[in-house]
């Protein structure tokens, strides 16, 4: 079952009883201001690529004091990240520098893998569990039902699961903290309902 959820879109943040909107010039400034609103002491956030930042922002309330996953065993928290654009924003930045200067930046190259966002989330919260980055045109719980089953088979009792997308100046997330010890069909239906509300 879904224990908690977060929605973020271009500065508008909503997670449980926490709801706010920030203004700013562009997606990066809005993400930074939203992060500050959550009072997260984690400077690494500001150095991460945009896909990683929107994922860390959306998942932050789950691990905060009193959050749905605060006391969950980190060994058994899985991660499923669904995205359409994936790392395209990072791809574009890296490629443009390479094209215009002939120089490849190692710092820009590494986040050209969309699953880097899972790595950033795992480092932020010490998550050693299973996880997948799934590329798809639109959020669909039905499509990822096999991946939810995979996490359960590998002993994941909880999961951070959902959709994040960033490109062309926008950033959005629909994330759920899930208790995986429920019927698989119920998990998929609840997640689909969350996506449909979007």
């Amino acid at each position: 079952m879904i224990l908690a959820s977060t929605r973020y879109r271009d500065g508008a943040f909503h997670s449980g009883g926490l709801r706010f909107a920030v203004e700013g010039d562009g997606a990066d400034m809005k993400l930074a201001r939203a992060w500050d609103k959550l009072e997260q002491d984690y400077p690494r956030f500001h150095r991460a690529d945009r896909l990683s930042r929107v994922l860390m922002l959306g998942a932050a309330p789950f691990f905060a004091p009193g959050g749905a996953l605060e006391k969950a065993d980190r060994e058994h928290i899985g991660m499923l990240l669904c995205t359409s654009t994936g790392s395209m924003e990072s791809d574009h930045r890296y490629h443009e520098l390479l094209r215009t200067s002939g120089t490849a930046s190692p710092a820009l190259f590494v986040p050209t893998l969309p699953s880097i966002a899972l790595g950033e989330l795992s480092i932020r919260h010490g998550l050693h569990g299973s996880g997948l980055c799934l590329m798809m045109t639109a959020p669909s719980a039905t499509a990822i039902a096999p991946a939810i089953g995979m996490l359960r088979q590998q002993g994941m009792r909880w999961a951070v699961c959902g959709w994040t997308d960033t490109f062309a100046g926008r950033a959005e997330a629909i994330l759920a903290a899930m208790d995986m010890e429920h019927a698989a069909d119920d998990l998929v239906n609840e997640l689909q309902h969350l996506f449909d509300e979007h």
Partner: protein, 369 residues
């Protein structure tokens, strides 16, 4: 009682050639396929480039690689509309060449996946996995687990990545490339060598539906280091967890494993990490091979390509040597093969690791020859 899942109908193409049997034959008798080719800015660079004559015509390289494996596989397994098929695709960078050509939108991986789905005629949306260099192994885990859990009866797993300036320059900028062919686990290792490949298999719960049986699925797991974005855990935390989880699910002991096919990139940190994780897993005496000295590091294709080849060799009771390896200096105790070796048993452990700290491990029983 777990549902048996069978793996077969394997197809693969790399710089070394086409087909699993041809790869094994070449690896028994020939040398590395890593050669100097014109790299970015026409500077010579050692890489595992697939000969043009092995690829069909097509709009771009990633589609040509995929079609080389997918077309014959579809001819062989012929998915029917009334069957429950799942398509699982693995790639690290997909059609990144499109971005290099100025069409960023066309580089979106879901576009590539939808093209492949239509080509396969499979109704269910594809599961398209991008888990860095663990993508191919993760895709096999996702497909086999989906069948075990009843989400599908059959699946096609397709893993591919093509060489590009984008990736070659990126690895060079990280100082992660050996100037020559790579030396996995060797004292002289200086980095990896990049390659390109495609591999594809069919998996099914119906043994009779599976041509050219390659093996039987036992278990698989993914785990994260939670340590560093571009460097592996110094203590092998994620890989250790993935291997232990797979062994626990399959209820096997280290002594049950005939051979380990490692990720073995040839970079200092990766190979050191793997050796520590394998020793901590109790696998210090199990023969270990790494294949990247033959055809390079093929990124998202690597896990599936190397699984297919290792199973093909193991079907005949053999573990293949590690090209480029002679003397080890990795910190963990591992038994890296310098020569092809007859092994006891038929259980393969294949592992992969990638940027972001992702690690994947699978256990598969090789079919009889």
């Amino acid at each position: 009682m777990r549902v048996p899942v069978w793996i077969g109908a394997a197809r693969c193409v790399s710089a070394l050639g086409e087909g699993a049997a041809a790869h094994v034959a070449r690896m028994r008798t020939g040398g590395t396929a890593l050669r100097e080719h014109p790299g970015p800015a026409s500077k010579p660079m050692v890489m595992g480039r697939i000969p043009e004559e092995l690829l069909p015509d097509g709009p771009d390289r990633i589609h040509r690689l995929m079609d080389r494996c997918l077309a014959p596989l579809l001819d062989e397994v012929r998915p029917k509309p009334d069957e429950r098929w799942l398509l699982v695709i693995a790639t690290a960078k997909g059609d990144i060449h499109a971005m290099e050509q100025g069409d960023a939108a066309a580089s979106a991986i879901p576009l590539l996946a939808e093209h492949i789905r239509q080509r396969c005629g499979i109704a269910h949306p594809p599961l398209t996995i991008s888990l860095a260099c663990a993508s191919g192994t993760a895709a096999l885990i996702a497909a086999c687990t989906a069948i075990e859990q009843g989400h599908a009866d059959h699946a096609i797993v397709l893993a591919a990545d093509a060489l590009s300036r984008f990736v070659l320059d990126g690895f060079a900028a990280l100082f992660a490339l050996d100037p020559g062919p790579c030396h996995p686990f060797d004292a002289a290792r200086k980095g990896t060598t990049l390659g390109e490949a495609c591999a594809a298999v069919a998996v099914s719960r119906d043994r009779s539906r599976m041509p050219r049986m390659l093996g039987r699925w036992r278990a698989g797991a993914i785990a994260h280091d939670a340590n560093h974005i571009s460097g592996p855990s110094r203590t092998g935390e994620g890989l250790l967890r993935a291997v232990r989880s797979a062994m626990r699910q399959a209820a096997v002991q280290p002594s049950d494993i005939a051979v380990v096919n490692a990720h073995g990139t040839g970079t200092d940190y990766n190979d050191a990490m793997e050796s520590i994780a394998f020793e901590r897993s109790g696998l210090g005496d199990v023969p270990i091979s790494g294949y990247k000295g033959w055809f390079g590091h093929t990124l998202g294709a690597a896990g599936l390509l190397e699984t297919v080849i290792a199973l093909e060799a193991l079907r005949e009771g053999t573990a293949l040597r590690t090209e480029g390896f002679s003397t080890t200096n990795v910190p963990g105790r591992v038994h890296v093969l310098t020569n092809d070796q007859q092994v006891r048993g038929n259980l393969l452990l294949k592992t992969s690791s990638g940027f972001g700290g992702a690690n994947a491990a699978v256990l598969i029983e090789a079919a009889s020859a």
